[in-house]
């Protein structure tokens, strides 16, 4: 017995998707899921969801995107941004997810310096944790 499949636009353009679009300035629906961002991401090996999968959750309005570690593993190197054939700067989407998480009190694992660091490393790391 085949299960029932419902095709609907109801969950598209959800408030969550709109909020991410507003913060990032990037239209998540421009993405056609080719995966080029994930293929070229130097950090994809360490992510719990690939960049294109993160964007898919945003397209679907699924707030599970806010609980992933992937946006925190993204180092904003913009390799994806210069390669996207649809011109979606997914690094901006990742930034929007980080900010939304912080603003909603969903914080990532604490970042505790385990040794002396140059200022450039500390300022960079902690700015990313500033909502």
């Amino acid at each position: 017995m085949a299960s029932e499949l419902n095709l609907s636009r109801d969950h598209l353009e959800a408030p969550f998707s709109r909020r991410v679009e507003e913060l990032s300035g990037e239209n998540p629906y421009a993405c056609y899921q080719c995966g080029k961002c994930s293929a070229g991401c130097p950090f994809a090996d360490h992510m719990d969801a690939l960049p294109n999968q993160v964007l898919r959750l945003v397209q679907l309005g699924d707030e599970a995107a806010l609980r992933l570690s992937a946006p925190w593993v993204c180092a904003s190197c913009l390799a994806c941004a210069v390669r996207c054939p649809k011109g979606v700067d997914i690094a901006k989407t990742m930034e929007a997810l980080r900010l939304l998480s912080l603003r909603r009190g969903i914080t990532p694992a604490p970042v505790v310096p385990d040794r002396p660091y140059p200022q450039i490393a500390l300022v960079g790391a902690y700015r990313k944790l500033t909502p």
Partner: protein, 274 residues
Amino acid sequence: MKKLAYFPGCAMKDQARPDEAGTLHALAALGYEVAEIPRWNCCGTVHSLAKDDLMRHVGPVRNLIRVQGMGEKRVLTLCAMCYGTLKRSAQFVREEERLARINAFLDTEEDFRGGIEVVHLLTLLRDEVGYEKLASRVKRTLNGLKVATYYGCVLLRPREFAVDDPDRPEVMERVVEALGGAPVPFPERMECCGAYLTVGRSDIVTDRVGRILRSARGSGADLVVTTCPLCQFNLAERRPPVAPTLPVLYLGQVLGWAFGADEPANLFPLGGAR
């Protein structure tokens, strides 16, 4: 002598002192009177990628106001991160409304009028000095030393602020060539080292650094050069145990050496660059 306003940023006064020493020596030899901008402050290191990023531009713009106060039209950075933040903010305030908002916020400063150009050492060497003049002024040639040119991310991305073609950059290779070295454009030269993740996720950065160094060594390099103090820190301090023992130097160290800086202890302090 040509006057040139200079924004050092934190690293040039700390772990990247050898970079500053070498670069300033070479720039003096090339006819520049480098003037450090007064009362400069942190550039912020990373820029915001979000739309509501006004606050993140305050620090960089304050530095641009100092440049304006010197009566200069452009400012030099050596650090790739400073270049990224200052360049982005200089662009951001080109829109009248944004400029007005920033000026309203920076109430205690003179109004910023915009129009300050941010240049990086590499673009200065290419566009103003020129490779030929650079080569003709070299006092000590690198003599065919195989130098892996590591760009990392901020010099090349985003596209609109890139110092060169973000897909096929050559400026650092040409500079190494002018100094008498043999540039090694290795496969990982444009891939991120992990940057600030080094504080919380050293495991990821160690993985990245291993790949970068193996790629450089595999391409036959004798050493790696970079202009980013965060890349230098990571490539030197975050090596996996089995990584190649390649030295990682600032471009400015090599530049200063090639221009005959007579204080090698400043350029290559023991333990300063493994």
